[in-house]
């Protein structure tokens, strides 16, 4: 047992202690456990069901002592509950029930926690704290990969994260996507954060994190990163007020990063051009084709891990028999939903994503030119760019139930609910809460 094991255990215990007086701290603790995976890096934490303890404690203490100003029930929350029920139901006809239960275990947890998030994140401080803890939890992976890439230049196939695992952000393609998706959020925090005192150190710290995020994405050598950089670059450019300066800075930084990672990154990215001969890329196209055909015969999906039954055949050269691969992963979050949860699951999932985007659009529109809500305006823009980046990257990786994707979908719902309540107070249209007769938002805040 090393000092780092004890340090991580102390941090974990601190969240539980703070949660006794400040219930939403337990939600932040769960976010940290779910993103940084202390159970995988500390032998002390690995001895207990850390995620379960933190999650149950967060929900229990919320119900007992933190129901001040509960938000209105949203369509998004209703859809998340329906999806939670649906992914449980599909196990009854799953192709591989045992494997399906394994994935259901963490996927269901993600859905339930995100339903809970729409209730617990209400104030500006809580929303920002969630964003900050998400960033710093992810930064554990980003710093490890990013700094090692700066020092060594990295290389394809090298594992630079803290431990060698494929769980969550330890998986290289997903880490690349999230690192890039966090860039707009870091820019937002640099401008509007109230939880870290404003200073030059804070400014340089956030700028440094952007550099680390970029090197981290490059260091994974994931081709998904190219898609992510394109999407985030375009949307940041569109939102930028100084477009020429932004273009110049982006070009200089891109040249510097490319110079540091040498030719190998370029060679790796060039394989996307030879998709017909390159095994991985062609395999993805074939598995997408297989899944679409499978969905015609199984419109309700094949349950979690249905990809394990697929059979992918590569065309052979000169009449030679082609290579056959069994159990190739979906490599696309939407295809993953289609294959596992069928058309109903895909429809609910896509509707939730579109709802989330529409909430952000509404917040942006309604907060324009309002100085007291400038932070909400900029946060909705940052979250929109982040979600679109993850959605674009998700077209090449199976991350439909990864918690970070869900957090980016759920945060706009909390932000929209926050704006609604500010508007109600401003316009004096504070209506009674339907499930608490006689209690309005303002009255419930005073409880």
């Amino acid at each position: 047992m090393g000092l780092s094991d004890i340090y991580v255990a102390v941090i974990y215990a601190s969240f539980l202690v703070i949660g006794l007086t400040t219930p939403f701290a337990l939600t932040l603790g769960y976010l940290w456990v779910d993103t940084a995976y202390p159970q995988l890096i500390s032998t002390v934490i690995s001895m207990i069901p850390s995620s379960l303890i933190m999650g149950v404690a967060a929900m229990l203490i919320y119900v007992v002592g933190d129901r001040r100003s509960p938000p209105r029930f949203s369509v998004y929350t209703a859809l998340a509950i329906v999806l939670g029920a649906w992914i449980t139901l599909t196990i009854t006809w799953a192709e591989l029930p045992d494997e399906a239960w394994t994935k259901w275990d963490w996927a269901f947890k993600t859905v339930v926690f995100n339903v809970f998030l729409t209730l617990v994140l209400r104030s500006r401080v809580q929303i920002e704290a969630f964003v900050q803890v998400l960033l710093f939890s992810a930064s554990m992976h980003m710093i490890s990969v990013g700094i090692k890439t700066v020092l060594s230049g990295s290389g394809y196939g090298r594992h630079l994260d803290i431990i060698d695992s494929d769980a969550g952000l330890f998986e290289s393609s997903f880490l690349a996507s999230v690192s890039i998706a966090l860039i707009p959020i870091i820019l937002f925090l640099r401008k509007h954060a109230i939880l870290i005192p404003k200073s030059r150190i804070r400014d340089f710290g956030y700028l440094g994190l952007i550099g680390i995020a970029i090197f981290s994405a490059m260091g994974t050598y994931a081709r998904t990163a190219l898609v992510g950089f394109l999407v985030v670059g375009v949307f940041l450019w569109l939102q930028s007020r100084r477009k020429v300066l932004f273009t110049l800075c982006a070009a200089v930084f891109a040249l510097a990063v490319l110079a540091r990672t040498a030719d190998t990154w370029g060679e790796r990215i060039q394989t996307t051009e030879d998709y017909e001969t390159e095994g991985s890329a062609m395999g993805r196209i074939l598995v997408w084709e297989w899944t679409i055909n499978y969905s015609f015969t199984h419109p309700l999906g094949g349950g979690f891990q249905a990809y394990l039954i697929d059979r992918i055949e590569f065309a052979g050269d000169n009449g030679q028999p082609g290579l056959v691969i069994y159990g190739k992963a979906f490599h696309n979050m939407f295809i993953e939903m289609l294959g596992e949860q069928g058309y109903p699951g895909l429809a609910i999932y896509v509707t939730m994503m579109l709802l989330s985007l529409s909430y952000m659009w509404k917040v942006r529109r309604r907060t324009k030119g309002q100085p007291h809500l400038q932070w909400a305006h900029d946060l909705s823009g940052a979250l929109m760019t982040s979600l679109l980046t993850v959605m674009a990257c998700g077209c090449f990786i199976g991350i439909a139930f990864q918690a970070v994707v869900w957090y980016l979908m759920t945060l706009p719902v909390c932000l929209h609910a926050h704006l609604q309540r500010v508007e109600q107070l401003e316009h004096g249209t504070d209506r009674p809460l339907p499930w608490m007769p006689g209690l309005s938002t303002a009255a419930s805040m005073a409880r």
Binding site: Y7, T22, A25, F136, I194, T441, A442
Partner: protein, 81 residues
Amino acid sequence: MISLFAIVFSAGMALYITLRAAKLDRMLPWFETRSMFEQERRREKAAREEGKYKVNHGRRSDTFGVRGSAAAAAAARGARR
């Protein structure tokens, strides 16, 4: 060494943010309306003019320029009315 730094930094910052959030969530109004925001701006401006910008007995405010704790408490009281 780099991995150790990553663990120490990220976990430490996550805890720091949680502590700050726990403190500020009690001080700041949950739903800040335009009138509360403008009232706060006027208060800051008046304090600056009087040379009393530094609240909390000469120390910088807890929110470091966002608002002083006394003003925040008044704003929060306003929100509850």
